[in-house]
């Protein structure tokens, strides 16, 4: 009876469709969310701008043009094509500063997220897998971190360490830590009783291998979504710290610092305040939209197959 398979398979023609690879499948879900796609496009444009700022920015971001203080944007009376979005109180071109500022925002986002994620995942993995006192200690520390208003806590860190971009990054990474720890811990706790983990234990895997090689890859989906969404939080927090004068220090063209310097000109020269604010708003919005799309695409329960 088994011999007929060869014959049957040879003669049977099939109207088959090849299975779609995981990347294409991901894109199919992701692209259904138009907002997410728009966010992704904007984000990619921002990355390109940040990378090529040296070449495409019309001016040097810290060069002061003494004859052109507070020049309005080009479409307003008194504007000039040399300074498309106008200049600030010391004559620096706002457009160029925004372009270079994108670098700082992206840099901050990347470093904060990577730092918080790596440390947070490590703590969460061991807390979730080992349980017992390790878990209790780790979670109580995280609870303490979470019970402070985040910005206040960041301010405290910066006050101790001293104002500056690097210290602001460390502070923001610390306040984001608990989210990664909790997320990882929850995933690990639900995965550790699954059969494939027991199978690895029976094969002789030790705790370190179990936690990093076996369980971790299966916890990544919610962590990726968290990373995308906290990217924008990092930018906002850095901007807030900058606004308060505790983050990036002038003359760095970081968007929040630009806002701080422009405070007194809100009525006199609205463009000095508005454009950095809009830049922050639109970037954070784009990243949030992307993060939403990512979550919908990566959530296995929403899959339809």
């Amino acid at each position: 009876m088994t011999d007929t398979t060869a014959v049957s398979k040879a003669t049977a023609s099939t109207n088959s469709q090849a299975p779609v690879g995981p990347l294409r499948e991901f894109w199919a879900y992701f692209s259904e969310n138009k907002g997410a796609v728009a966010g992704l496009i904007f984000f990619m444009v921002l990355v390109v701008v940040a990378l090529l700022a040296d070449f495409i920015a019309p001016h040097d971001p810290i060069e002061q043009y003494r004859d052109h203080f507070l020049v309005p944007p080009v479409w307003v009376d008194g504007g000039s094509w040399d300074f498309l979005l106008g200049t600030d109180a010391v004559g620096r071109d706002i457009l160029s500063r925004l372009m270079f500022g994108a670098r700082y925002s992206l840099f901050i986002g990347c470093i904060v997220v990577s730092g918080a994620a790596v440390v947070g995942i490590a703590i969460g993995l061991f807390a979730g897998y080992l349980g017992g006192w390790v878990d209790t200690v780790a979670m109580r520390v995280m609870d303490i971190l979470l019970s402070y208003p985040p910005l206040l806590l960041a301010l405290v860190f910066v006050a101790i360490l001293g104002p500056g971009l690097e210290n602001a990054i460390v502070a923001i990474a610390v306040i984001q830590l608990p989210h990664y720890v909790r997320l990882t811990r929850a995933s690990v706790m639900s995965e550790r009783s699954r059969d494939y983990v027991t199978s690895a234990r029976v094969a002789g895997a030790g705790t370190l291998r179990l936690v990093t090689v076996t369980i971790l890859p299966n916890c990544l989906a919610p962590i990726i979504v968290q990373a995308a969404l906290s990217f924008s939080t990092a930018i906002l927090d850095a901007a807030a710290l900058g606004f308060l004068g505790m983050g990036a220090q002038p003359p760095l063209p970081e968007w929040g610092t630009m806002l701080a310097e422009a405070r007194e000109f809100i009525l006199r020269a609205w463009w000095v305040v508005t454009f950095p604010g809009v830049a922050i708003l639109v970037t954070v919005l784009a990243i949030n939209l992307m993060g939403d799309g990512l979550r919908d695409a990566l959530d296995p329960k929403l899959k339809r197959s």
């Binding site: 299975p19 699954r194 059969d195 494939y196 027991t198 199978s199 690895a200 234990r201 029976v202 094969a203 002789g204 895997a205 291998r209 076996t214 890859p217 299966n218």
Partner: protein, 326 residues
């Protein structure tokens, strides 16, 4: 190891779990397994049969050394494992491997099949070169009836039956002597079940494996087992040769199990020994014989004294009324 020593034998294996009670500070004990003794030789299959809470999964966890016994011991070849034994060494680990029930959760979704198969070797024999590992894994893949191109695929691209084959292949990578099969075909369709059972028979013949076959499906047990152990609430109630147990069950629970199992033959007379009530909780087992609240032939003695396993009619039964004509 001489011919007289069985490959795997259990001696009064017991496992209790301590859990927190309802009141603060209260400790309760779940008696998941009590007094299990058995023997298993090369090329033999011992079936462990029972319903929820009977302790069969706990037994699997003890034999594969995921957990230590609370009391009692078991022996693999000449090595004894009891609650004092620490983490098992490489050889001991290699001797017993397991295949799980659910093919959809027993393979790591993020690893390719090749990685899954090679992992036991990576962990235990790092001295084996990558090329040799791959060769062995590919060999194993074809041994269980899969094709070479499956080596680079992920588990979700396979059907339940194929995944179960992969699970078997992985279990065999360490050349075990004993394979614990925890409901290996319960989650599979009937036609696929037949394929996997055939595969298991072939592998047993080729490698002389001993199977500890856990199942609640009596028709599969009848087909595969040499000996059968029926369990209820953590204790063995009947233990003996397959044909003795199926043709002439002595314990009332075994009789009820057999009669409750549907027979795929409409002409077969439906004789239902209906068991009333629910399975009791292992935290608070009934006094005396744990089965007495549901037993159709229980007498006063059953509520007071717990029967031990005793030989009756060619097998071991734990029932005060075994051997009587009821």
């Amino acid at each position: 190891m001489n011919a007289q020593t069985p490959l795997l034998s259990g001696d009064d294996l017991t496992r209790h779990y301590d859990i927190a009670g309802k009141r603060f500070g209260e400790k309760m004990s779940v008696k998941a397994l009590q007094g299990v003794s058995f023997e298993l030789d090369q090329g033999e299959t011992l079936a462990v049969v029972g319903e929820s809470g009977c302790g069969k999964s706990t037994l699997a966890r003890l034999i594969t050394m995921i957990e230590p016994p609370t009391a009692g011991s078991f022996r693999i070849g000449d090595t004894v494992v009891d609650k004092e034994t620490g983490k098992p060494g490489k050889e001991l680990r290699a001797a017993v491997q397991i295949v799980f029930q659910d093919p959809y959760s027993s393979l790591n979704p993020r690893q390719k099949i090749g990685t899954i198969l090679a992992e036991p070797l990576v962990i235990n024999h790092p001295e084996i070169s990558r090329a040799d590992r791959e060769k062995k894994a590919r060999n194993m893949l074809s041994l269980v009836g899969l094709r070479p191109e499956h080596y680079d695929r992920y588990p979700h691209m396979f059907s339940g039956g194929q995944r179960q084959r992969i699970a078997v292949a992985r279990a065999l990578m360490m050349n075990p002597k004993v394979l614990v099969l925890d409901e290996p075909v319960s989650a599979l369709d009937l036609s696929v079940q037949a394929q996997i059972l055939n595969l298991l028979v072939d592998l047993q013949d080729e490698f002389g494996l001993a199977y500890l076959f856990i199942s609640h499906d009596l028709s599969v047990v009848r087909h595969m087992a040499d000996r059968v152990m029926v369990m209820y609430l953590g204790r063995p109630v009947e233990y003996g040769e397959r044909d003795e147990i199926f043709n002439n069950p002595q314990h009332p629970y075994t009789k009820a199990l057999l009669s409750a199992t549907p027979i795929a033959d409409p002409e077969h007379p439906k004789h239902r020994l209906k068991l009333e009530g629910e399975l009791p909780s292992p935290i608070n087992p009934p006094p005396g014989c744990a089965f007495h609240p549901r037993c159709p032939i229980a007498i006063d003695r059953c509520t007071a004294e717990r029967p031990e396993l005793a030989p009756v009619a060619g097998r071991d039964v734990s029932c005060w009324r075994a051997g009587e004509d009821v």
